[in-house]
Subunit: 235 residues, 2 copies
């Protein structure tokens, strides 16, 4: 049994109940077999902070009732996954309009619209294309096979996990984290090789936000950079 703000790691594979089609998995081999491998993604156990709401509602709710090393298969109805289908999201557009955007209209092709959302081409006939703007998994009941493989119990491990989630492992190892429970502060020293990496500051800000929200609510997070002559010597 877990509670809000617990840091757990899960492994899972998700299928569409009706078809058995694998739509998401933390397992690299499974992803390749199912033809959904994404080389930009990190496979392996995934960090979940309970209450953060990064997962679909039904999965996150179910996780509160797991124990460490427990593996379960859970069924998640559309209203706790990607929503019911909404027929008002089916649009008919002229074939010529898609052609002008360089899109070849083929049934079942998934398009990314300019606002970032997805649409599926349902049919093409008589110069008209039926576009379905529902999420591709809307209306689907999903079946998740899930295992909780790790639980973090101390603040420093949780902070390191947040750093690893936000910065690539190349940089994450260079962070230094020191807790001072007397002063109620945690000092995070940024590795020098991040000083000129784009988006450092917004990542530092977000990391501090996550620490005071999910790990150490009444602590001060001190973020430190250290410069000296050698920082600026060309090498």
């Amino acid at each position: 049994m877990f509670k809000n703000n617990d840091f757990i790691y899960i492994e899972y594979t998700a299928k569409i109940k009706d078809t058995g089609e694998i739509v998401d998995t933390t397992n690299e081999e499974e992803a390749k077999k199912a033809n959904i491998y994404d080389e930009t993604r990190n496979y392996g156990p995934r960090l979940v902070i309970l209450g953060e709401n990064r997962l679909i509602k039904g999965l996150e709710e179910a996780l509160y009732n797991f124990n460490l090393n427990e593996e379960k298969t859970i069924e998640i109805p559309p209203e706790k996954a990607y929503g019911e289908r909404d027929n008002s999201k089916i649009k008919i557009v002229p074939l010529g309009e898609l052609r002008r955007q360089g899109i070849t209209a083929v049934p079942n092709r998934v398009l990314r619209l300019s606002d970032g959302s997805l649409a599926v081409i349902r049919s093409v006939s008589g110069g008209r294309v039926v576009l379905d703007l529902n999420h591709p998994l809307a209306g689907r009941t999903l079946v998740y096979n899930v295992k909780v493989v790790k639980v973090l119990n101390n603040a420093k491990d949780k902070i390191m996990a947040l750093i690893e989630r936000r910065f690539s492992s190349k940089y994450a190892n260079g962070f230094n984290v020191e807790l001072d429970d007397g002063k109620k502060s945690v000092r995070i020293t940024i590795p020098k090789d991040l000083y000129l990496v784009e988006d450092l500051q917004i990542n530092v800000y977000s990391l501090a936000y996550e620490i005071v929200n999910y790990v150490l609510a009444d602590y001060t997070v001190e973020v430190l950079q250290q410069y000296n002559k050698s920082t600026f010597s060309s090498s």
Copy 2:
């Protein structure tokens, strides 16, 4: 008499020797009178770090021989100002080419070229325009009236001056600077209202560079941000 890495403040007005035309000044009223007022610029005494080479060569060289509160008029030949004129930088272009770029060709008009450099239109006739790509002050002897109005003597004042040069006064006052001569470190605490301002990190990096190069060569510069719950509360 000043030396390398001295922090001084100067007031000056610069004229073209031949014409008496004022081309630069630290005095806001003078700038308005001479029709060269720039509202994006901060008028008043200007910080100069000797050896930083932000000024034209002849002016910076002369400053080593000033004393505090001394005022002098110095003449700077082209080779220590904006260089000699180079006739190979005079180009003839078809009038139509400028028209296509939306430029009305009028003699003496100064253009900013796509690479950021300046050009002066020397003449327009018979569909041809003579463009002069020399710096507008190339070939000119300049006369500077200069006064050294302030000298900074301690490291903390110098660091505050660097902060004020880099961050607008709205933010500069929020910085905290603490020197520890025993540990040979200086700690700079960034004001919270800068955390989400664009380019904070590159400015922090540049500030640290200036401190170890011009103020405290053998010190460590520690740059600190402090976050707690209240940092993220909407207000």
